[in-house]
Symmetry: C2
Subunit: 369 residues, 2 copies
DNA sequence: ACTGTGTAGGCAAACGTTTGTCTTACGTCA
DNA sequence: TGACGTAAGACAAACGTTTGCCTACACAGT
């Protein structure tokens, strides 16, 4: 804004009462950011009038010349209103809270990036906090964030347990909670894409890696998979389903469960992983026992994280429009903050099948050992 | 040290789940959250006294019985102090700003996760903002964050241009700016590790991928590499150095520059990439012309992002202790906020060579074509 | 001369805290 | 009995805004 004033404005020159008479109180002179009151003193007006001008309050008659004087002074003293004071007075902070399990995770941060884009565009700022799936933090952080002035919350992949006193949008939230809008993937469609893709390639013996219990998507995704399999006529062998347990976001996630799967010596020609990370771990486990992907076993991931396209072989996966989902979440929250009453209770984003190199025709011999 | 008032009233925990037990609200609390004034009215005291009790202000004599009454009332009405009002009054917000180029990037978010850990532990919250390396945003966001009450700033991989009026810690910052503490990798050591490793494997013709000009580490890293090469006696062929340009964080970053490198038909047996992402892209470009890694060409990355360990082949790289660096940055900032005067002007974190599968003995024939 | 209508801007009360200073009332001491 | 100390808490002034209401004028119309 005020980039032009090369010589620093000396507020002390025009407000003699502090700087000149009391040189020892250094913190009070020029260093202190200008306030409405200082401006008003300087201009011979009262703070209210200055505020009115600077905010262009409609319905107030202030002559053009005065308005210019005020704006000049604001520029000269590099005035920035104290948002703290303003928030206190107006009871609006233009701040929301973003609650996320883990900052260092491709899924979460992709969503956050969408959230951030929309919020910044609309002039909102956000606090972020991560809880690492610890229940007491999930309980406590919303309160703290609200205490900090968050007018609403966006929770990513977080199992909320109860209603809150501010509007909430949950990304990858499934539980129906009053006041909570869920933004999630259309899991029925996603499951259909996965199972149909594998069925068309001739797979009949399919192993599944289920998500961790604490991950919000786990339950729904699995339910949809079983439903889709039933529709399409693929039998689900429960001896071929394994379950992720660890709370990490690296391929190490998928490695051990596929090892145990392999040790069971069951026949399968494809693995449906809970997400891309576990798919990558799965592929490594397969290769470590000299199984080729996709010639011997097809693997399909979920999420389409950035590593997926550059993994070797390139990972076939379901893309979630995570950035869009983040933007959508932010948009819905802001609408609700602006008093929109008939906001959607749920928003389902469309998944997309990204066919790359880790899926191929079923090998009739299945995995060899 | 924790953020001053450890006696922050933890009231909600004591209050029984309100939804179930109280269908009807008590007379006093109506709509708004309880304030000091309401409490004072209820107790027949004045707000100041209530404040004094709740904050355990030393040197005030309030009888024990009154203190209990006050605390009971606070619990009863689920009182939480307005941090907005408190901040306005005390001129402390316990909030900092975190400025980052991109939210969806392994490097940045790993650092953020360290920052977040430390800040939350100390009772601070933070605003985050991302600028995508746009100079006007880099100029504007610090102001906005300070306007929001940030008492200090942590900038990750951000080329600040000038001093700010609050304490700043720059992660991967190189420029010496008054008031800015730099937390960075010991690049001299890192460069030494890289060059020595390749030299020991017999590499003499080494190609280099330099970082983008806007990336804060680019310059220093390159300078250190050339210094180390000189020390160790490796000649740097400028026809074998290419430069990243694009502002993306996917392997696509490194792919095209290695393509051009290959088109030049120069002889080389190893590539030193600016970071892991570009290394992965480089490997793909090599494989696409049927060059094997590491048999024909060795590749070494930088950062040790999560994908590095699970890439195929596993990536040899330099690990930056990013999480630690984030924590360190936060710690230094908080120390400065608490008035520590002799904080370090610079902090260098130790790199570590992670030898995996993408580097091997130099192939005397070099790359074939 | 009186009323009405604008115009320009001041006044003061919020918003919810914190903190230094003041006032009571009571007891103790000499 | 007066001086004094002290406990218990009230008072008021901030912090920097915003906003509803008010005043003081000037001018025009009857």
């Amino acid at each position: 804004m005020a980039a032009s004033n090369s010589n620093e404005p000396r507020l002390a020159e025009v407000v003699p009462k502090q700087a000149v008479t009391k040189p020892k109180r250094k913190s009070l002179d020029g260093e202190r950011p200008a306030s409405l009151k200082m401006l008003a003193d300087y201009l011979g007006l009262c703070p209210a009038t200055v505020s009115v001008v600077l905010n262009n309050v409609p319905g107030r008659s202030i002559p053009h010349e005065t308005r210019e004087r005020v704006r000049d002074a604001a520029r000269k003293f590099n005035y920035h209103p104290s948002l703290l004071a303003r928030s206190l007075r107006k009871k609006r902070t233009f701040t929301v809270g973003v609650l996320v399990p883990e900052l260092n995770d491709g899924y979460h941060t992709m969503v956050m990036s969408g959230i951030g884009d929309h919020l910044m565009r609309e002039g909102y700022f956000y606090f972020s906090a991560h809880h690492r799936h610890k229940p007491d933090m999930i309980e406590e952080y919303p309160r703290l964030l609200m205490g900090r002035g968050a007018e609403g919350l966006i929770c990513i992949d977080t199992n909320l347990t109860h209603e809150l006193s501010v509007p909430v949008v949950a990304v990858a939230g499934h539980k129906k909670i009053p006041g909570v809008t869920n933004v999630l993937l259309d899991h029925r469609r996603a499951a259909d894409l996965i199972v149909r893709h594998l069925a068309e390639l001739g797979h009949k013996h399919i192993a599944f890696i289920k998500g961790q219990p604490f991950s919000a998507d786990s339950r729904t995704r699995w339910d949809c998979i079983t439903a889709a399999a039933k529709d399409i006529g693929i039998a689900i062998n429960h001896e071929l389903t394994v379950q992720l347990e660890r709370d990490i976001s690296s391929p190490e996630l998928g490695y051990p469960v596929v090892q145990t799967l392999l040790q069971s010596h069951k026949h399968f020609t494809a693995i449906v992983a809970f997400n891309d990370m576990s798919a990558i771990g799965a592929i490594r486990a397969l290769r470590d026992v000299n199984l080729r992907v996709p010639e011997d076993v097809s693997v399909i991931g979920f999420d389409d994280i950035q590593a997926a396209a550059y993994h070797n072989p390139r990972l076939t996966t379901i893309r979630q429009p995570l950035h869009d989902m983040g933007e959508t979440a932010a948009r819905i929250l802001l609408q609700r903050l602006q008093g929109f009453k008939d906001y959607p209770q749920e928003f389902a984003a469309p998944p997309e099948l990204i066919t790359r190199e880790t899926t191929g025709p079923a090998n009739p011999r299945g995995r060899r050992r």
